[in-house]
Structure formats: structure tokens, C-alpha cells
């Protein structure tokens, strides 16, 4: 890379100026915050001294003036607090900026202008408040998109004011650390690729990195899209799906600032808690602090108001490791069926049938007279507008019954008083005793009414499975699995048990019933939903999500080849799009893998169905190999050796991947004293920083990456089915640089013979 001394000098000077400006702003922001802090403390003190601390009834008139008085003090405090928080965020951004203010520059000439403007791009913006000169543009600003999408020559970008065109004369990239310019180079596509290759060949740091410097054109189109209501991305392993999801969330935040979109309006649904921690560090890096990230389990807990629900990981562990093949099969088939479109349709029919068949209406009496008979109550409910949720219609019905009761209450009380007065023992407390009797009978009445106006979805669901002939009559015309009898029996037994966790699949179904009949209030303002690892979800998941976030726009990312315990194909995306039913939707494919070396990718491809293409970003490495030895302890020895080799090569993260948690625990017990460096077992409860040697079940490893991967137990017993093939694919594609496989006994039939040691 040749650079003239002049541009070297220019860049050094520019960096110096930028840093000086940032330092100046940082000093003033810090000072301002100190002042704000002092002001808040003072204002709070004044408020405490001059106002009553406790206003017991904010709503009564006499206290209204107290409230007004209090608010005179409270409002400035609140203002100061939010100002303080804003400044605090600015300070954080400036501190980052001082370390590395920008990573790229483009020289762009707007159409009709004579001169090229130098546009520096970084993680956040920096502007000289006096001259209004932009020193650094946020990577998410409209003009920055040129950097990701165009080379030298004609270019354009969309801005709020319409399309802006012009010409790019220069693209330059920088490596700046701790405020020092390490190097820079002028980039065309080849050199950019070289730069990317260099970055990729570095060992994985402990956390997922931001990719703002290396966003590819296809990725950028997804990150910056604002057109689509439903954006679906099918991305190969290592294609940067998750990074794209996170950057998109950050971009939406940035765009949303103008529309008053706050972090409360964006939610990321992630598959497991480990993953959640893993991404936690990426978003603040990108500039946004508080995007809500949610596990699907958390949704179930809050909808069902029940803590004891089997988690997805517990379900997977059971399906992968249960010793009884018959149990395994039925659990899996049950999940497949209950997650399916057919079952969702059956549940919808069930809901429609509830008023006619499942609500226990009864004849109601009050004051010795007929209030309403069960037939007319049912008729009245059926008359009500079906657009409203069932629970709402029932509440209305209850209200109308009570209205009649209230009208008659005084007469009833009078009768009771007379009755009581006749009894000599109550002469002195006629009023109270009459009231007590009235309360008693009203309590009995309301309990009778609530038997049909309150819905117990768990109970209703249980009854659905208790009545087989009804179940089949509802399912008329729907395609049912062969083992439906067994599924019904199995479910009925599970629901009979009063202790223990509610099975994962039943929890989903009951949550669906609950949402469809009673709705959910808290999630209505969500405007953007990002879902990662979409291939793990069943139609019923998307149905639930759709009820929860009816007004949201969706970004859904997945890889149909990385399923666990199920099979999936491209029709997944058709289903998603049918369920969410958004006006504008699209499916984008990311084929190129940036994570693995060519050799690892080629090796992994054997586990894919033919016709699936994997394109690697050409980076070379060693070919994976399969190892075995005469005994299982000798294989353990080989594994220990391999870990040692990886250590000497300075690989930061080394993953030993097993099929199940059970296998992982067993391996951990065997190895923990043999490996010099500390080995960590990762299970659902572990907090981690991915640096070191880890043993992990494959379903937990999804979405993560390691410098070196060792896949253990690749024998016939562990890996033989179609589902196992997917597991091997996931495990292999976790590796960045080095991949080796180990087994004892008979090799898995899924491994081909073309590789050293493979399929002998």
C-alpha cells in the first residue's frame, strides 16, 4: 500500500483535529453533568424539605393543591434527570470516539456541486457545534450507506429529502486504536476483501464483534431496509445473520429517533439465555443501549402467569438423550403436531366452539326469582359481536346480569331485614345481619356466574384432550399424524399430573388459547420485532407472536439447515409469511459464509441435502480430520492432545461439542483433570465469556463460534438419523479455523470416506 507523504500528513492532522474536538466536547459534557448532578441533588433536597412527603390520596380535591405544589418541584427535577441521562450517553459515545473516531472515509461529490466532500464514518457522529462542520458521520446515517454499497464512480443514497446522487472519488479505511493511526489504505473491492480476510483470520475475541467496518453490500441492504413490513433472511451458517439482526436493530433505533421510536418499541426474540448474554455486549457497542431482548420462554411465563414450564432446552435434551426410543419419538411427534398449522386450526375451531359447547352456563336466581336461564344466557353471548375477544364478551354479559341484580338489591335487602327482624336474637343488629346475608348470597351468585364468564384455558385444554370423539370431530378435514392416538393419550396423562413442569408444547398451545380468547395488553406498542434462529420455531410460535405484536414490522432470520430435532425446508418462510400476513414482505438469501475456512465449509457441506450451495469467503486453512483409537480412554487422550495443539497455536476459544448435555457432562468428568487449562462445562445456567476451553452440547452452541472445534462421540450410536445430520452440520460450522472429529467404536455412517480417517 503506497501512500504519499502528503496524504499521510493530512490524515494525521485530521485525526488530531477530530480528537481535539472530541476531547473538548467531552470536557464540557462532563462539566455539564457535574452541574446537573448538583442541581438534581439540590432540587431533590428542596422538594423534600418544602413539600409534604406523602400525599395519601392524589385524587381527592383537597389534596389537589398539594399535588400541584409538589409538581412544581418535581418537574424541573425530572427534566434535569433526563438531561443528565442524555449527557451520560453522550459521554460514553465520546469516550469511544476518542479511542477510534472513524474507520472509513469516502470522498463524495454531490450532483451539481463542484467539489468533493470528505465524509468520515464512525460508530457515532461528531459535529463542531460552532461551525456545524460534520467531523464524523454515524455509520447509520444515510450518506454512510454509499460506503457499503458502492465502489469508485457513480453512486446514490436515499435520504429523507429524496434520492441523492453523485460520484465517489475515494474510499479509504483506517485502523485507529487508542487515538493512534495504525495504518490506512485506499480501498477497492479486492483490497476490501483482503482487509476482511485479515480481520476474519484473527482469533475470535470473547464476544461477538461489531461488523460496521466490514458490512457487505448484501448485508447492508438488509440492515438499512425500511420498506418491508416483513423481512425474512435465509442465511448460511457463518453468513453473519445474527450480526445483521443486531445491526439492523441498531439502525432501526437510529432511524426511529426521528419518529419517537424508543427502545421500548423494539424487541429481539432470541432462542436461549446463553445467546442472550452473548449479544448483550454487542448492542451498546453499536450505539444503542437498551433494546429489549426476550426469550420465548419469558413470553410464555408472562402470558400464562405460571413459572413451571418446561424450557426448550429441557425439551431438546430429552428428545436427544432419553434412553427410551419410544418416549423420545412420542415427545418429538407431539411437539411436531402441536406446533403445526393443523393443530393451530384445530385450536381456532375449539375457540369458536367454546361458547356453544364448553361454557357451563347455569340458570340464575335472585331474590327468589328467575334472573336468567342458561339457554337465554348462551343466546345472549352468541348474539354479541364476534370481533371482540371472548373474554371481553363474557365480561359484558356478566355486567349486564349484575345490572339487573343491582336494581333489585334494595328490595332484596328490605326483605332480608324483615326476615331478620322476626328473629329475636338479632333485634339490635338487623342492618348488619341482613347485609351479611346479602353478601353471602351475592358471593354464591357471582361464583356461579364466574363459572362461565371466566375462562380457565388450562382446564379447557385438558378437556379437549379428555374427549377423543370430540377431538376427532373438531379435526375433521385436517391432516393428522399417524400416531395421533398415542399423542392424545400421552398429552392427557401429562395434563393429569398436578406436579412438575407443563410440557413445552402444551404451554405453547395454552398460551395460544389464552391470547386468542383474552388478549394481552402489554405488548401493543412494539413497532419492530427481530427474530433470530427462526428455523427453531413452529407455526404456533409465529401465531403467538402475531397476536402479541399485531402492529409490528418484522425481521426474521434463520437457516433451515440448522434445525435441532426437526426437519425444515424453504417452505418455512412461506408459512411465516402466511401467518404474519404483512403487506410488503420479502425473502433474502445470504449464501456466503464468513466464519469458516474453505476447508471447514467444504467438509460441512456433506451434511446438507444436495442442491444447497455454500459459498465461502475464500480463506484457507487446514482440512478437518476424523480420529479414533482402540479404546475410549485412548480417544480421550487424543482429544487432550488436540486441545494442547490448539493451545500452542494460540487459539483463544476452543469448543468441545457433544450431542447432548448428558454427553457433555460425561466428557467433562473424564477430562477435567487431564487438560492443563481449566475446562468449563456450558449448560443452560452458565454465565460465560467465550475465552478458554469449553464443553458444550450442540443445541447450546448454535449461534456461537470458536476458533477451534472438536466434535466428540461421532460414532454410529450418537449420530445416525436425519436430525443428527443437522446437528453435525451445526457443530462443524461453529469452527473458524480448525475442526477435528473424534469417536471410539463404530464410526457414524453420516461421515463420508473422502477425509482423513473418515468412514473407513
Amino acid at each position: 500500500m503506497e501512500q504519499s507523504q502528503r496524504s499521510q500528513d493530512f490524515e494525521l492532522k485530521r485525526l488530531e483535529q477530530t480528537i481535539a474536538l472530541a476531547e473538548e466536547q467531552l470536557t464540557s459534557a462532563r462539566q455539564k453533568n457535574e452541574e446537573n448532578k448538583a442541581a438534581i441533588v439540590a432540587a431533590k433536597k428542596e422538594m423534600i424539605e418544602d413539600t409534604p412527603h406523602f400525599i395519601s390520596n392524589l385524587w381527592s380535591l383537597e389534596n389537589f393543591y398539594e399535588l400541584v405544589h409538589l409538581s412544581q418541584f418535581a418537574n424541573p427535577v425530572l427534566g434535569k434527570v433526563s438531561e443528565y441521562e442524555m449527557e451520560a450517553r453522550k459521554i460514553l459515545a465520546l469516550e469511544k470516539l476518542l479511542d477510534s473516531p472513524y474507520f472509513a472515509r469516502i470522498d463524495f461529490k454531490f450532483e451539481g456541486e463542484a467539489e468533493f466532500e470528505k465524509i468520515y464514518i464512525g460508530l457515532s457522529s461528531l459535529r463542531d457545534e460552532e461551525t456545524y462542520e460534520m467531523f464524523v458521520y454515524d455509520w447509520r446515517s444515510p450518506v454512510a450507506s454509499i460506503f457499503y454499497r458502492f465502489g469508485i464512480g457513480q453512486a446514490f443514497y436515499d435520504s429523507p429529502g429524496g434520492q441523492m446522487s453523485g460520484e465517489v472519488a475515494l474510499k479509504r479505511q483506517y485502523e485507529i486504536h487508542q487515538g493512534k493511526l495504525d495504518f490506512f489504505f485506499d480501498a477497492d473491492v479486492q483490497i476490501m476483501d483482503e482487509f476482511l480476510r485479515k480481520l476474519l483470520s484473527q482469533n475470535a475475541s470473547s464476544k461477538m464483534k461489531t461488523i460496521v467496518e466490514t458490512i457487505q453490500k448484501e448485508q447492508d441492504l438488509i440492515i438499512r431496509d425500511l420498506e418491508m413490513d416483513l423481512m425474512m433472511v435465509q442465511g448460511a451458517a457463518g453468513s453473519g445473520k445474527t450480526s445483521v439482526a443486531l445491526h439492523r436493530a441498531a439502525y432501526l433505533m437510529y432511524q426511529g429517533l426521528a419518529d419517537k421510536l424508543s427502545y421500548n418499541n423494539i424487541v429481539i426474540i432470541s432462542p436461549n439465555p446463553l445467546f442472550e448474554r452473548y449479544i448483550a455486549n454487542v448492542l451498546p457497542e453499536l450505539g444503542e443501549n437498551n433494546i429489549n431482548s426476550l426469550l420465548f420462554e419469558e413470553i410464555l411465563h408472562s402470558v400464562l402467569q405460571r413459572q413451571q414450564i418446561q424450557t426448550r432446552n429441557q425439551y431438546l435434551e430429552y428428545v436427544l438423550s432419553s434412553s427410551s426410543r419410544a418416549d423420545r419419538t412420542i415427545v418429538k411427534k407431539s411437539m411436531e403436531f402441536k406446533g403445526s398449522r393443523q393443530f393451530v386450526e384445530l385450536l381456532k375451531r375449539f375457540i369458536a366452539d367454546l361458547p356453544k359447547r364448553w361454557l357451563e352456563f347455569s340458570d340464575l336466581y335472585y331474590d327468589g326469582k328467575y334472573l336468567a336461564d342458561r339457554q337465554s344466557l348462551k343466546a345472549e353471548l352468541l348474539k354479541r359481536d364476534k370481533e371482540f375477544l371472548l373474554s371481553f364478551r363474557l365480561k359484558q354479559l356478566e355486567k349486564s346480569i349484575l345490572k339487573t341484580v343491582h336494581k333489585q338489591r334494595e328490595d332484596r335487602l328490605e326483605k332480608l331485614r324483615k326476615q331478620v327482624a322476626k328473629r329475636p336474637e338479632h333485634t339490635f343488629e338487623v342492618e348488619e345481619v341482613a347485609r351479611m346475608l346479602s353478601i353471602h348470597e351475592s358471593t354464591a351468585l357471582i361464583k356461579k356466574i364466574r363459572k362461565f364468564t371466566e375462562l380457565d384455558c388450562f382446564e379447557l385444554y385438558r378437556r379437549l384432550f379428555n374427549d377423543k370423539s370430540y377431538f376427532y370431530s373438531l379435526a375433521k378435514g385436517l391432516e393428522l399424524p399417524d400416531c395421533i392416538e398415542a399423542i392424545i393419550d400421552f398429552t392427557r396423562e401429562n395434563l393429569q399430573k398436578n406436579d412438575g413442569d407443563l410440557p413445552f408444547d402444551d404451554a405453547l398451545a395454552i398460551a395460544f388459547l389464552h391470547l386468542k380468547t383474552q388478549g394481552y395488553r402489554d405488548s401493543k406498542d412494539i413497532k419492530q420485532v427481530v427474530i433470530d434462529e427462526a428455523q427453531d420455531y413452529y407455526p404456533i410460535h409465529f401465531e403467538i407472536i402475531n397476536v402479541l405484536f399485531p402492529k409490528a414490522r418484522y425481521t426474521i432470520l434463520g437457516d433451515i439447515n440448522q434445525t435441532i430435532g426437526k426437519q425444515e425446508d424453504l417452505s418455512l418462510y412461506d408459512q411465516v409469511s402466511r401467518i404474519l400476513n404483512r403487506k410488503k414482505s420479502t425473502l433474502v438469501t445470504l449464501e456466503k459464509s464468513f466464519r469458516c475456512t474453505q476447508e471447514i465449509l467444504r467438509y460441512s457441506a456433506q451434511f446438507l441435502d444436495s442442491g444447497f450451495e455454500l459459498r465461502s469467503f475464500s480463506r484457507e486453512g487446514e482440512a478437518p480430520a476424523v480420529f479414533t483409537a482402540s479404546s475410549s480412554s485412548a480417544v480421550d487422550g487424543l482429544i487432550v492432545e488436540e486441545v494442547k495443539t490448539c493451545r500452542t497455536r494460540n487459539y483463544q476459544s476452543i469448543g468441545l461439542i457433544c450431542k447432548t448435555e448428558q454427553d457433555a457432562v460425561a466428557l467433562y468428568d473424564r477430562l477435567k483433570d487431564q487438560v492443563e487449562q481449566q475446562v468449563q462445562l456450558i449448560n443452560s445456567n452458565t454465565e460465560i465469556d467465550l475465552k478458554g476451553v469449553f464443553i458444550i452440547p450442540v443445541y447450546m452452541a448454535k449461534g456461537l463460534e470458536f476458533d477451534a472445534v472438536l466434535i466428540c462421540d461421532v460414532d454410529r450410536e450418537h449420530f445416525h438419523s436425519e436430525d443428527d445430520k443437522n446437528l453435525l452440520y451445526i457443530a462443524c460450522t461453529r469452527a473458524l479455523h480448525r475442526l477435528n472429529l473424534f469417536y471410539s467404536g463404530e464410526i457414524s455412517p453420516l461421515l463420508t470416506a473422502d477425509y482423513p480417517g473418515g468412514g473407513k
Binding site: 385524587w59 343491582h406 338489591r409 348488619e432 345481619v433 351479611m436 353478601i439 351468585l445 357471582i446
Partner: protein, 79 residues
């Protein structure tokens, strides 16, 4: 304010000190509150606060605070 009033009424009915009534005092027999005491409490509250407490709602008052909140809501609805 509502709580203090309710506590005062209840204390008088039971013949105990106001301070012995707390927000989480249970309105049950175990706490020495009989059905008829509860009926008295309800009637008195209606009179004091000039509101109607529906008899079918009374079973949901498990703690003193439940009644306090109910009264608060009724007052709000009236405004």
C-alpha cells in the same frame, strides 16, 4: 386518607386500637373478623365515603388494602 378512615372504622367495630390495623391485616375469621363485622365495615364505609360497595365484590377483599383500593377506584370512577 382512605386507609386511616377504614382502619378507624374497623378498629371501632372490633374494639381495638387503630394502630393495630395494618394494610395487610386479613379480613378473615383468623384475625378475629366475623362475617357480621365485615358487613358492618362495608355498611359504614358506604356511609362515610358516600359510595356503593356491591355485595358480590366483597368476597374479593382479602386484606384491608383490597377494600381501600376498591374505594379508591370507586371514587375515581365517580369523578
Amino acid at each position: 386518607m382512605i386507609f386511616e378512615t377504614v382502619a378507624g372504622i374497623l378498629a371501632e367495630i372490633l374494639g381495638i386500637d387503630d394502630e393495630d390495623i395494618e394494610k395487610d391485616t386479613e379480613l378473615t375469621r383468623e384475625y378475629g373478623i366475623k362475617s357480621v363485622d365485615l358487613a358492618k365495615l362495608i355498611t359504614e364505609c358506604e356511609r362515610k365515603f358516600q359510595i356503593t360497595i356491591h355485595d358480590e365484590d366483597v368476597h374479593s377483599f382479602r386484606y384491608v388494602n383490597d377494600l381501600v383500593e376498591y374505594i379508591r377506584r370507586v371514587q375515581q370512577a365517580m369523578q
